[in-house]
């Protein structure tokens, strides 16, 4: 199983019709994306908090260095891969819709 297939399996929908609650169903889809984003923002905030606390404990953090930082090639590539997984997580609802359409085709 390659990485993308694994991510699709992770994001799979439960069987059963996905309910909608708003008069305009697009709002339900949008809310799903916004709320997943809110979660990831909390995750990032928590990680940042951990890093800052650990560095502060060790007297290692120079806050000005954060603003001055520029990634090298390897670091930039690693960040890029993270962005791809991040986007797949955010856009789960679209994948599920296409999966359902494909199943209908068969």
């Amino acid at each position: 199983m390659n990485e993308l297939d694994l991510q699709k399996l992770i994001n799979a929908a439960a069987s059963g019709k996905r309910p909608h609650f708003f008069g305009d169903h697009d709002v339900d889809r949008l809310l799903s994306i916004v709320w997943a984003m809110a979660a990831e923002l909390a995750v990032t905030r928590e990680r940042l908090d951990t890093v800052e606390r650990l560095l502060a404990e060790r007297a290692l953090l120079d806050r000005a260095a954060i603003d001055a930082y520029r990634p090298d090639g390897a670091a930039a590539a690693e960040r890029g891969q993270w962005q791809i997984e991040y986007l797949s997580r955010l856009l789960r609802v679209l994948q599920q819709e296409v999966d359902a359409l494909r199943r209908e085709e068969r």
């Binding site: 694994l6 991510q7 399996l9 992770i10 994001n11 799979a12 929908a13 439960a14 069987s15 059963g16 996905r18 309910p19 909608h20 609650f21 708003f22 709002v27 339900d28 809310l31 799903s32 709320w35 997943a36 809110a38 979660a39 990831e40 909390a42 995750v43 928590e46 990680r47 951990t50 997580r89 789960r92």
Partner: protein, 397 residues
């Protein structure tokens, strides 16, 4: 000036009890659960209450203006509330939270499903006699028609040979869903059941104990600990739950606990062969017909002098229509198709129909027993279905 009241935060996922089958979690995977746990807690402590305000202030008055009377029951309340902007947003957030909990659990577990499977194989091989799988057991339609509570693949999907990922996901995510109210090892209901049994029958030693729909055995192990001399058996239709539950139990030194693949409607045991038969949050995942079959099996299997106990969310009788409406949300929007019907079923009557004497049938309440440092549930209204306090119905044979 009065001191501002601070809301309790959910315990961090890093507090979840570790065992031999625990997945390896990264910082961000833990943080994802931490967000979801606090989101669930905030929804039940703060956001849910706004529904009653919306109902009283604008939804019910509007209904009265149109119909001349109040909504007559929970169905009419749902029809009225479905058009309300607050209820719509609360519902959509709640549903999103359910889906995100699954995504978070699956992204933690599926990336290491081979490693978890290998670990389970190794542990299970050490006590092979007590893991009794039977691949002739079919998944009953009330389980296969819908993925229960929005778990993709439900309890039984297998993505690789000897897969345990469905159970590992269930185990990992439940702590976040229940905000720690079931305890570090999710065994609060089992511990509450063991305490109830020891208090209602002091000194009694059941020889054989049966947990129906045991899943990964989280509520089975407390009975094994409380009755070290008893033969303790859990049955379930889902092989991944049993494989994982057995390996988890072996890792805890409880390899004597039997995990058997069987359908609770037709159990492969002799008549009158169990002294204590119980279930925790299992009956609502079955069906009308199955429920009757299951109670019939309990009648057959319970030895003279034995007792049964079934933990569930409280029945709707005696509740306001509005509370029924809120509790009913899971039936309509969280893939719990039998939820409403079960909570309208009078379980004591059903037990009487199966031949238990009226005087031997009882109803009670069971509290989750959790570690001292874990949050406790004070009232039955906590989160309308996910708190650590249960209605229980039982009967002595």
């Amino acid at each position: 000036m009065t001191r501002a009241t601070r809301l309790d935060a959910a315990p961090p996922w890093s507090e979840v009890g570790e065992h031999a089958m625990s997945p390896t979690a990264t910082h961000d995977e833990i943080a994802r659960f931490n967000f979801l746990a606090n989101f669930n807690k905030y929804m039940s402590n703060v956001v849910v209450a706004g529904n009653a305000v919306a109902y009283e202030r604008r939804v019910a008055p509007h209904w009265r203006a149109q119909h001349g009377v109040d909504p007559a029951n929970r169905r009419e309340i749902r029809a009225a509330m479905s058009a309300d902007a607050y209820y719509q947003l609360w519902s959509a957030l709640r549903r999103s939270g359910m889906e995100m909990r699954q995504q978070a659990g699956r992204s933690l577990v599926l990336r290491q499903m081979q490693a978890l499977r290998d670990r389970a194989r190794e542990l299970n091989a050490a006590c092979a006699a007590t893991l009794r799988l039977d691949n002739s057991i079919a998944i009953p339609p009330y389980q296969s028609e819908l993925d229960n509570h929005c778990m993709p693949g439900s309890y039984y999907a297998e993505y690789i040979d000897d897969d345990v990922s469905a159970a590992a996901n269930y185990d990992a995510g439940m702590f976040a869903t229940t905000t720690g109210l079931f305890g570090r090892y999710l065994d609060g209901a089992g511990r509450g059941t063991a305490q109830w049994l020891s208090r209602s029958r002091p000194g009694w030693q059941p020889r054989r104990i049966l947990d129906l729909g045991c899943g990964l055995g989280h509520n089975l192990l407390p009975l094994a600990r409380a009755y070290p001399e008893a033969e303790v058996v859990g049955v379930d239709v889902a092989a991944p739950m049993l494989r994982y539950g057995h390996s988890r139990a072996v890792g805890m030194g409880l390899g004597r606990v039997i995990f058997q693949q069987a359908n609770a409607e037709r159990l492969p045991f002799e008549d009158a062969s169990f002294d204590f038969i119980y279930s925790t949050m299992f009956l609502h995942e079955t069906s009308h017909a199955a429920l009757r079959n299951i109670f019939g099996e309990v009648r057959r299997l319970l030895a003279p002098g034995g007792v049964q106990l079934h933990l569930e969310q409280p029945p709707y009788r005696g509740m306001s229509d509005f509370e029924q409406f809120l509790r009913d949300w899971d039936c309509h929007y969280n893939n719990e198709p039998f939820w409403s019907a079960l909570h309208e079923t009078h379980l004591p009557t059903l037990l009487a129909e199966k031949g238990f004497a009226q005087a031997d049938i009882f109803e009670t309440e069971i509290h989750a027993i959790v570690e001292d440092e874990m949050p406790k549930v004070a009232t039955a209204v906590e989160d309308f279905g996910r708190g650590g306090l249960w209605y229980a119905c039982g009967a002595a044979a």
